[in-house]
C-alpha cells in the first residue's frame, strides 16, 4: 500500500528533459495506476471483506473485534471528533520533529567540524537514544505538566538520533574532488559548510526524515497516553478503558491515514529537493 505511491507521483510529473507532450505522460500515469495502485487496493478491500465476513459468521462480539463496517460507521459519524484530535497529535508530532531534527542538524554540524566535540557529545546522544521513551514519558509529565510540551519533547527525542547520525555521515561524505575544488578557490569553512557540506548531506538527512516522521507521530501518541485529554493517544486510552472498540479502531484508522499522508508528503518533498540525486534520476 505504501510503496507504490511515489511511483505514481513520479509518473505524474514529467522531468524537464523529457515529456514533450502531455498525452504519453497521461497514458503512463494510467498504466501506473493499473500497475501499482490497483493490486494493493484489491488486496486491502479483500482483507476488509474477509474480516467483515469472519466477524459476522463467527459472531465475534464488537468489544473484542468490531467489523470494518462498524469502524467506518464510527469514523464517519465522528469525523469532526477524530479530525480535531488527529490535528492535535499531528501538530505535536510535527513540532517535535522540527525541534528534534533542528537540534540534531545543529549538533551534527558542530561534530562534523570537530572530532573533540564529536567524542564528547556523541556518547551523550547514544545515552539519549538507548533510554526507552516509555520510561522517560512519565517523567516529562511530572516536569512539564499536562500540556502539549511533554508530547512535543518525546516526539523530538525519538527524531533526534537518526537525524544526528545520518546528518553527521552526510556532512562528512563530501567528495574529495569537490572539497579540493573549494580549497582551490580559497573558500572559508563557512562557505564550504553552506555551499557544499550541508546541501551534500541532504540525501542522508532525507533518509532519516523518512524514518523519523512516522516515529514522531508514535512519540506524540505515547506522550498522550500518559497525560492529558487531547489527541489520538488519549482517545485510544479512554476508548480502551471503556471497551469502546469501534472508537479505538477508528482512532487507529485516523493514525494510519496521518501516517500515510505524512509519508507521501515527505516523499514528494524529497523528490523536489533532491531532484539532482541519483535516487531520483530516472532516465
Amino acid at each position: 500500500m505504501l510503496l507504490p505511491l511515489p511511483r505514481l507521483l513520479r509518473g505524474a510529473r514529467a522531468r524537464p528533459t523529457e515529456g514533450v507532450s502531455a498525452a504519453p505522460g497521461e497514458t503512463r500515469a494510467l498504466t501506473e495506476v493499473a500497475l501499482y495502485v490497483l493490486p494493493p487496493a484489491v488486496a486491502l478491500i479483500t482483507a476488509a471483506v474477509v474480516w467483515e465476513l469472519w466477524v459476522r459468521a463467527a459472531d465475534v462480539p464488537t468489544y473484542i473485534v468490531p467489523a470494518p463496517s462498524v469502524v467506518l460507521d464510527r469514523f464517519f459519524a465522528g469525523i469532526g471528533f477524530f479530525a480535531k484530535h488527529g490535528a492535535i497529535t499531528l501538530a505535536e508530532a510535527l513540532a517535535g520533529f522540527a525541534l528534534g531534527a533542528g537540534v540534531a542538524i545543529a549538533g551534527a554540524s558542530l561534530m562534523a567540524h570537530s572530532r573533540v566535540l564529536e567524542r564528547s557529545l556523541f556518547p551523550l546522544a547514544v545515552l539519549v537514544k538507548v533510554t526507552p521513551i516509555v520510561a522517560v514519558a512519565p517523567l516529562f509529565v511530572i516536569w512539564f505538566g499536562f500540556g502539549s510540551f511533554p508530547k512535543v519533547l518525546i516526539a523530538a527525542l525519538i527524531t533526534f538520533f537518526p537525524v544526528l547520525v545520518n546528518g553527521l555521515t552526510g556532512l562528512r561524505s563530501v567528495k574529495p574532488e569537490a572539497h579540493e575544488f573549494f580549497r582551490s578557490v580559497n573558500a572559508s569553512n563557512m562557505q564550504t559548510y553552506w555551499k557544499l557540506r550541508l546541501p551534500g548531506s541532504l540525501p542522508y538527512l532525507f533518509a532519516a526524515f523518512r524514518i523519523c516522521v512516522p516515529l514522531a507521530v508514535i512519540g506524540a501518541v505515547v506522550g498522550e497516553w500518559f497525560s492529558g485529554d487531547r489527541g489520538l493517544g488519549s482517545v485510544i486510552i479512554v476508548a480502551h478503558n471503556n471497551l469502546d472498540m469501534p472508537t479505538l479502531f477508528a482512532a487507529i484508522l485516523t493514525l494510519a491515514i496521518l501516517g500515510v499522508g505524512l509519508t507521501v508528503l515527505t516523499w514528494q518533498l524529497e523528490r523536489r529537493v533532491l531532484f539532482w540525486h541519483e535516487s531520483n534520476i530516472t532516465n
Binding site: 574532488e177 569537490a178 582551490s184 578557490v185 555551499k195 540525486h277
Partner: protein, 270 residues
C-alpha cells in the same frame, strides 16, 4: 630559472610519510614557466605530476623547495585568485545549474580581495554551452561537464591555469574534440598553463614545452620545446615534426622510468 618566470619551482622535494612507510614523490624538481606559456607535464603514473601541480596551486605544502607563482608564494597567489584549477573529475555541484556552477568561485570572493572576475555568461558561450545554461550536471555528458569545470576555473579570470588530466576521464572521441576546443580557448586567452597528461600526442599538440618526468622519485628527465607553428589545426598531428617530437618524448619516458617499456607504451597509447 629566469627572474621573469611566471611560475618558478626550485629544488622541490616532497615525501609522503605515514607510520609504516615513506614515499618520495618528488625529488629536486626545477621548473620555470614563462608568462603565457603552455607547458605539459608528462610521465608514468606515480611520477608525482599531480603532487607537483597541487604544490604549485597551494593545495599541498611541499617537504622542501621554493615555489613562486606570479612573484608570490602559492598560498598568497591562491588568495589573490591568480590560480584556476581544473581537475580530472569535474566535481560540479549537482544541485546547481551550469551557470550557477560557473558562478560558484565568484561567490567565494573573500573580503579584501577585489571582485575581479570574468562575466559568467560570456564564459558559458566561450565553452559552447550557452544553450545549456539552466541544465543540471546530471543532464550533461562527460565532455560538457568538463567544459563547465573549465569555465568555472576561468571565473576569476586567473592568469595561471593548472590542469590535472582534465581530459583523462573522457572517451577518445570526446577527448579529441576537447583538445582542439582547449587549444582554441587558450590561443584566445594566452594564460599561463601547466597541463598534466598521460598522452604524448595531447602534450605535443597543445604545448609550447613538454616536461618529461620519471617516476619514484619524480624527477624532470627532459624538457622539450615544441616549435610547431600556431594556430595549430588537425593537420599538424600528421606532420613529420609532430612524430619526431612524440618519438623524442617516448624515448625520454623510457629512459627515465624503471618500468621503462611498459610505462612508455602506456603513455603512447593514451
Amino acid at each position: 630559472m629566469t627572474a621573469f618566470a611566471h611560475i618558478s619551482v626550485r629544488g622541490l622535494t616532497h615525501v609522503f610519510a605515514d607510520r609504516r612507510r615513506t614515499l618520495r614523490a618528488l625529488s629536486g624538481v626545477d621548473l620555470a614557466v614563462g608568462r603565457g606559456e603552455f607547458v605539459s607535464v608528462i610521465g608514468a603514473s606515480g611520477a608525482g605530476k599531480t603532487t607537483l601541480l597541487r604544490a604549485i596551486g597551494g593545495l599541498l605544502r611541499p617537504t622542501s623547495g621554493a615555489i613562486l607563482v606570479d612573484g608570490v608564494l602559492p598560498a598568497e597567489a591562491q588568495r589573490r585568485k591568480t590560480i584556476g584549477f581544473v581537475f580530472q573529475e569535474p566535481a560540479l555541484l549537482p544541485w546547481r545549474t551550469v551557470i550557477e556552477n560557473i558562478r560558484l568561485p565568484i561567490e567565494m570572493n573573500s573580503r579584501g580581495s577585489e571582485a575581479r572576475h570574468a562575466e559568467p555568461e560570456r564564459l558559458l558561450t566561450a565553452v559552447g554551452l550557452a544553450d545549456f545554461r539552466d541544465y543540471h550536471p546530471h543532464q550533461l555528458s562527460g565532455g560538457m561537464k568538463q567544459r563547465v569545470a573549465l569555465a568555472r576555473a576561468l571565473a576569476f579570470d586567473p592568469s595561471v591555469l593548472l590542469m590535472d588530466e582534465p581530459l583523462g576521464a573522457l572517451d577518445e572521441m570526446t577527448r579529441t574534440v576537447m583538445r582542439y576546443e582547449l587549444l582554441r580557448l587558450w590561443e584566445q586567452s594566452r594564460k599561463t598553463v601547466i597541463f598534466v597528461t598521460h598522452s604524448i600526442p595531447e602534450a605535443v599538440l597543445l604545448s609550447d614545452r613538454v616536461v618529461v618526468m620519471s617516476s619514484q622519485p619524480g624527477r624532470v628527465v627532459d624538457d622539450v620545446a615544441i616549435a610547431l607553428p600556431r594556430p595549430r589545426h588537425a593537420d599538424v598531428e600528421r606532420s613529420q615534426r609532430f612524430f619526431a617530437y612524440a618519438d623524442r618524448i617516448m624515448d625520454s619516458l623510457a629512459k627515465g622510468s624503471a618500468l621503462a617499456p611498459a610505462a612508455a607504451q602506456a603513455a603512447a597509447g593514451g
